[in-house]
């Protein structure tokens, strides 16, 4: 006995023999089950017998309309089929595969943090253990093993304190490493010159004027305000001029950055410079203030000296040095006169900067300084 195929509601069919109702005994299916025609849906009890009611069609059970014990009349709804619902393909035969709504892309590389100055120390595990035992700082040990690896013997020599002397630490150690690295990589050339600064009014540090002149010189030859990635052979011109300014303290050399000098007034430059000098003197300078130099400036002339070949620290490609202002007799219109001369030096990385570029930069620098009042 089947109901009309395709109907969503399946009613209790005529059970024959004059029977008008039946009691539900046991369901064989549950909502969500997929059934086929003739599959027993439910066992019901009539006055005469206990019979299974087969499904009239294939489909998915939506609802079983009655509980065991309920009495259903012939023609009354017994089971509801779902209106065409296909079970989603689980795509498996065993287990339950998790799926995420979204996944973080797996190929995004997290850029490594740029470490300050220090490179890793290579030492054998036994040597490290020995260094710990002897309270020897591995950074101070020279490795004599293969590829410079520090070995136990090296640690033990260091502990014995051969020769005594100052063990470099902190800032001085960082400088030693930085300079070694720069020396290994940069091909340095230097061009020197002089600026006649007789017209400068006032006394005081030439630094603010030098900073401003640097901005002007970079505008003329942007190539000296760049970062060179020598491994990738990529030269990246920097849009801002962030000048690293060499400052000496008892603890060693600091090079804080005065950012974005282009277009700034002398007052602004002076004020910023003072802040940086204070911070360095008080050792309150922050690490982020020591990073990001695009070109450097050393006013070694504040102490003594005229011209110098300076260290260009990668990834920068140039460093400007100013010597001590001195007085000299020069000819003006054929007549001797006294002039204030500011010696200038520009050391540059000749791998990427040419002599002409450096000289042009020098000329722009000199012109700006000489034009100032």
């Amino acid at each position: 006995m089947t109901d009309g195929a395709g109907d969503a509601t399946f009613c209790l069919p005529d059970l024959g023999e004059g029977l008008s109702e039946a009691e539900i005994v046991q369901w064989h299916v549950a909502p969500g089950d997929r059934v086929v025609a003739d599959q027993p849906l439910v066992t019901v009890e009539t006055d005469k017998a206990v019979v299974d009611i087969p499904s009239p069609r294939s489909g998915v059970v939506d609802a079983c309309l009655g509980e065991p014990g309920d009495v259903i009349e012939v023609g009354q709804p017994l089971l509801q089929f779902a209106v065409e619902a296909k079970r989603p393909d689980a795509g498996a035969v065993v287990g339950a595969l998790p799926s995420a709504a979204s996944a973080t892309p797996s190929r995004v590389a997290v850029p490594a943090a740029v470490s300050a100055a220090e490179s890793g120390v290579r030492a054998s595990p036994r040597a490290r253990q020995r260094a710990r035992e002897l309270s020897v700082s591995l950074e101070a040990v020279a490795g004599t093993g293969p590829e410079g690896v520090i070995q136990v013997s090296d640690v033990e020599s260091a502990a014995a304190g051969a020769g005594g002397g100052e063990r470099l630490g902190g800032v001085r150690r960082a400088m030693a490493r930085r300079m070694t690295d720069a020396h290994a990589r940069v091909v340095r050339a230097t061009v020197t010159g002089e600026a006649d600064v007789s017209r400068w009014s006032g006394t005081g540090s030439p630094m603010p004027r030098l900073l401003r002149a640097l901005g002007a010189a970079v505008a003329a030859v942007p190539r000296l305000n760049a970062w060179f990635d020598d491994r990738a052979e990529m030269l990246a011109l920097q849009s801002r001029v962030n000048v690293g300014i060499a400052m000496e303290t008892a603890d060693g050399l600091f090079v804080p950055v005065l950012e974005d000098v282009a277009g700034r007034t002398l007052e602004s430059l002076t004020s910023e410079l003072t802040h940086l000098q204070d911070a360095v003197a008080r050792r309150s300078i922050r690490p982020d203030q020591l990073k990001g130099q695009t070109i450097s400036l050393s006013n070694f002339g504040a102490v003594a000296g005229l011209h110098a070949e300076m260290v260009v620290v990668p990834p920068q490609v140039a460093i400007v040095g100013s010597g001590r202002v001195f007085e000299r007799v020069v000819l003006a219109d054929g007549k001797p006169t006294a002039a204030q001369i500011l010696p200038l030096s520009i050391s540059f990385d000749h791998r990427v900067v040419t002599g002409v570029e450096a000289s042009t930069f020098l000329m722009a620098l000199t012109t700006d300084l000489e034009n100032d009042q």
Binding site: S124, P125, R126, Q129, G145, Q151, V152
Partner: protein
């Protein structure tokens, strides 16, 4: 006491085990009438009869499964696979059943079987007859992997393997089958499993190996002794479970470790030893751990085989590098 080679020692152990314990039966291809292609089971059929020594049809999966079934019923089967190269159809029975029958029935059923096979190269054999894939078995939880390198150990370790209540893969280095002889006492004494054996004491370098490579290891130690370095040679014997303690203790004294095995480098069992020492013995090391192994290639056929197997020269080179490191 008899002067026996390794294969003779295997035979003696089988004979001993079968006379002591009627549950011990032997089966495999050609093991009965023919006494085994290497004569490992020679004379056993005559001595113990066809109910204890059975020639199976040519079917390695069957050999593995028979062993599982008969062991679950209380027998102690010693099943032979003719060459390690043919063990792989039985691998299913070992990994999916033998190794886990006890575990999956919570101890109700267990599998006290031994699967023995000749393994390794250096005997000018045709293709597939020089396999050394012991690492596959060592990887499986629930199994033991035992490899003797001397006749006396072949006798004692096989007896222990047969008596062990859990499945043991017993790999016999065929290059050593007839290479040398020694006195083997038929006293029924088993050599303990799960333990490394120090074959030669030394203080400058720890040299770890097993199977046929023990020959090269001991020869290298001898030569290095003349150069002034004392080498401690350890025979692993039971790869799984690994006796890390013995190896670590040795490295703590010598600070240097070289591992030699015929099997290919990548994921060879030397990796497990190296990792174990890196984990637990890092600060004892004065030099990197070196492995001298077969290349990551298919074992070459006899003409080029000598370029594959880790020979004395390669072992010595590695040892000298490690000795001069620090």
């Amino acid at each position: 006491m008899a002067e026996l080679n390794l294969i003779g020692a295997v035979n003696l152990a089988l004979r001993r085990a079968m006379s002591e314990d009627e549950r011990v039966i032997v089966f495999g291809e050609d093991v009965g009438t023919s006494g085994g292609v290497f004569r490992a089971t020679e004379g056993l059929l005559e001595a113990f009869g066809p109910d204890r020594v059975l020639d199976t049809p040519l079917a390695e999966t069957l050999i593995g499964g028979l062993a599982v079934g008969v062991a679950a019923q209380g027998f102690r089967p010693v099943a032979e696979i003719q060459f390690m190269g043919f063990v792989y159809p039985a691998l299913d029975q070992m990994v999916n059943h033998a190794s886990r029958l006890r575990n999956r029935t919570r101890g109700r059923l267990s599998c006290p079987m031994v699967l023995r096979a000749p393994f390794g190269g250096g005997v000018h054999a045709p293709e597939h007859h020089s396999e050394s894939t012991e690492a596959i078995f060592a990887h499986l939880p629930g199994l033991r992997v035992v490899i003797p390198s001397t006749p006396a150990d072949a006798y004692g370790l096989l007896l222990s393997a047969i008596r062990d209540p859990d499945p043991v893969v017993f790999l016999e280095p065929k290059r050593l089958y007839r290479m040398s002889t020694e006195q083997v006492e038929d006293d029924g004494a088993g050599v303990p499993l799960d333990r490394c054996t120090i074959r030669r004491a030394g203080g400058d370098l720890t040299l770890v190996s097993w199977g046929a490579s023990m020959v090269e290891a001991l020869a290298a130690a001898e030569m290095l002794a003349e150069e002034g370095a004392t080498v401690e040679v350890i025979d692993v014997c039971t790869l799984k479970p690994l006796d890390r303690a013995t190896i670590l203790e040795s490295v703590s004294r010598t600070g240097r470790l070289v591992i030699v095995h015929e099997a290919a480098l990548t994921a060879g069992f030397g990796s497990e030893i190296a990792a174990s020492v890196a984990e637990a013995g890092l600060f004892d090391l004065r030099a990197p751990v070196r492995r001298v192994t077969g290349w990551d290639t298919v074992v070459p056929l006899p003409r080029l085989e000598s370029h594959y197997l880790p020979d004395l020269t390669r072992v010595l080179t590695a040892c000298r590098e490690v000795l001069t490191y620090d």
